[in-house]
Subunit: 284 residues, 3 copies
């Protein structure tokens, strides 16, 4: 895919300034995420400069949630007793005008899970980030849908552009679709207007590491937390770009998925401006 060199020149300083803001402000991110991802999510946030807190008991929210900088909700290992916590935390985040980000893992895998995601969507997440199958499932909810295959996508991200637009308009959220090309869009948003951006960074082997999708969604929460609310769209683009570039840099040293995971986190921690600018590839 061709990229517009001028676009990249614009995006470089933007992404770098968002990363710098995150490192300077070290935002506190409350994470209600699945059991599989907790380790990688926490380490991704720490390496990027944020401060993660895995707090999911509703008893703590009135004391704790007002002090956070953003909330991250991920339905990966959903159970009926966690859903009320997710909703209560999202409500409190809204009440205190904190951004919150939703990862609708495997949204189409069951009616229970799809309904849970739809209930969470009604609480107006700032950003929704999923793979193509998840975003398509959400956009088609209410319409009869075939089964999707577990947590992995059976669609290419580019197949999901229309679904992402539909979902962005219906929800008012920024919608991000991860894949070979990451898609970020907002439609008729009061804050962000109509935008559609593509991030071309990343490596296929990231799909062979569990919870990389969960981790990048957490990173979106951190970037959005550190940004002016009016710049949440650019912060989302920046998070996806930075994570994918760290993946590319990690891949240069990796011999397989496990060493890629290690080098990705190390690269995220050490990412400097020249490396960022030389790798960045954003269009649209």
């Amino acid at each position: 895919m061709e990229t517009n060199k001028e676009e990249q020149l614009e995006w470089g300083p933007t992404v770098w300034s968002h990363l710098t803001a995150l490192r300077d402000r070290s935002p506190l991110i409350q994470c209600i995420t699945n059991f599989v991802s907790m380790d990688l999510v926490a380490n991704t946030l720490l390496s990027a400069g944020a401060s993660p807190a895995m707090i999911h008991s509703i008893q703590e929210f009135s004391d704790f949630t007002p002090h956070i900088d953003a909330l991250y909700v991920n339905v990966g290992t959903l159970s009926p007793d966690w859903l009320p916590s997710m909703k209560a935390a999202a409500l409190l985040a809204n009440e205190h005008r904190k951004p919150w980000v939703l990862d609708p893992v495997a949204a189409g895998s069951s009616q229970f899970r799809l309904n849970a995601c739809l209930e969470l969507l009604l609480l107006k997440p700032t950003v929704i980030r999923g793979n193509a199958s998840e975003i398509i499932a959400l956009s088609q909810a209410g319409i009869d849908m075939g089964p999707t295959k577990g947590v992995d996508s059976c669609h290419e991200s580019m197949d999901a552009v229309e679904a992402a637009k539909f979902l962005a308009e219906a929800s008012g959220s920024i919608v991000a679709v991860s894949g070979a090309v990451d898609i970020i869009c907002s439609i008729k948003s009061i804050t962000h207007g109509d935008r559609l951006v593509f991030v071309h960074n990343g490596v296929p082997m990231l799909q062979k590491i569990t919870a990389t999708g969960c981790a990048v969604t957490a990173l979106i929460a951190a970037f959005v937390a550190a940004a002016d609310p009016l710049h949440a769209f650019d912060a989302t683009v920046s998070a996806l770009s930075v994570f994918a570039i760290a993946g590319e840099m990690g891949m240069e040293l990796a011999k397989g998925p496990a060493s890629l995971r290690m080098h990705l986190i190390d690269s995220l921690y050490g990412l400097d401006q020249p490396a960022l600018l030389s790798h960045i590839n954003i269009t649209g």
Copy 2:
């Protein structure tokens, strides 16, 4: 222990064909496993070519479980509210003729845990994989047994041959015992007949990494999922062999348990036919 070169020559192509089938078919494996192991289990399955889904809420099973290729149940961090899920998933797997595999972690540690494992055994897992202490505890259930030491084995795997045979006959399942030598047996099985095979691969340091036992049981589920049901025994042998060979290859690069874990996963991902054939060591 002497190995029969002819046996190995036979096993080499068999194990390779099972690994190739797994990579080609990318089976969807539903995992109901313990909190400690979720990361390593998911990454092991992804590196081997399977697609893991950690779904444990009973509300999702009627939509999700009919679409899986195999179920993996592991009682590591058992609690009373997870046991009904494990049983319901196993029942559904049976109903839909999907293989399912049981890891009876620390089976002898408490009466509660032992009873849970026995209830699961009644649901006829395709394969049971444990360490020697776990298999001995299960085979002696009903007989008074002394305490076993947590999740680690206090028995050598070869001590468990008779226990494995007894359990295989009583349960009708394929029984695998992990240890310095892995034992795989079936007794009077309608499908597999009487078989007793030994895998001599692996390195002792694997015991210094948490959840390697859980990971290899998950891998058995993936191999069995990708195989013809009539070849579930050979698929089990193949999974244990491939994991242990990846451990040997990882050990060549490792400086301790944490780097071994990384190199093991990388080696599993990259394992090719010449490396497999040069390491394989199966007898019986």
Copy 3:
């Protein structure tokens, strides 16, 4: 900070003998810890020579807990249904004269969490290990306290010396504060008397890896389990010193937080007497 060379000469053989005892005795450590930390806690214990068992269901305690060598309780991802398990396990440990160690993660983050920690304190842990913010929060409980920032400390460990002394006297426990300098104290303890020791090892990047605090507390449980009860104070100092030295040695090879985590565990596994003696830096 100046260090007294004679003190170090005394501490070297003491720490080494505690590590050797741990490796020889391989104590069984029951862990009731948070979801984020389970993997690192288990791998830290295994690498040090202990045998971890993550068993949190109250149904198992009467069979299992009497056979353990120490109990580790960590409130990281606390929920109301886990608290009774934590208390029941602590009571059983006391009844069977087994040491138990408390990690009051984010103690000041909510009233619910603070109350839970205070209830656990009443059950007289052998050792309490926290960061400065956590120890200050516990020592000021009952006094109005401002919010603390999630799980990360907003205080330097040296700010917590007086809080640690207060808490040690009030609880009768050994109190350890992790930070740039680790503080270990006991006050008017029947067993340990008045002691105040400082461990100067460690590297700042450990704070960029999730659950390193949880892991070192688990290591304290293992060291205390392997020691004579009269030497629990020295065992605590030894655990903090060994973990921090493994961190320093890991840092020599690390390129970021993820590779540091790996090299830390490898170094802990391989730590020998000359390396220990050349790095050790303990005063007080």
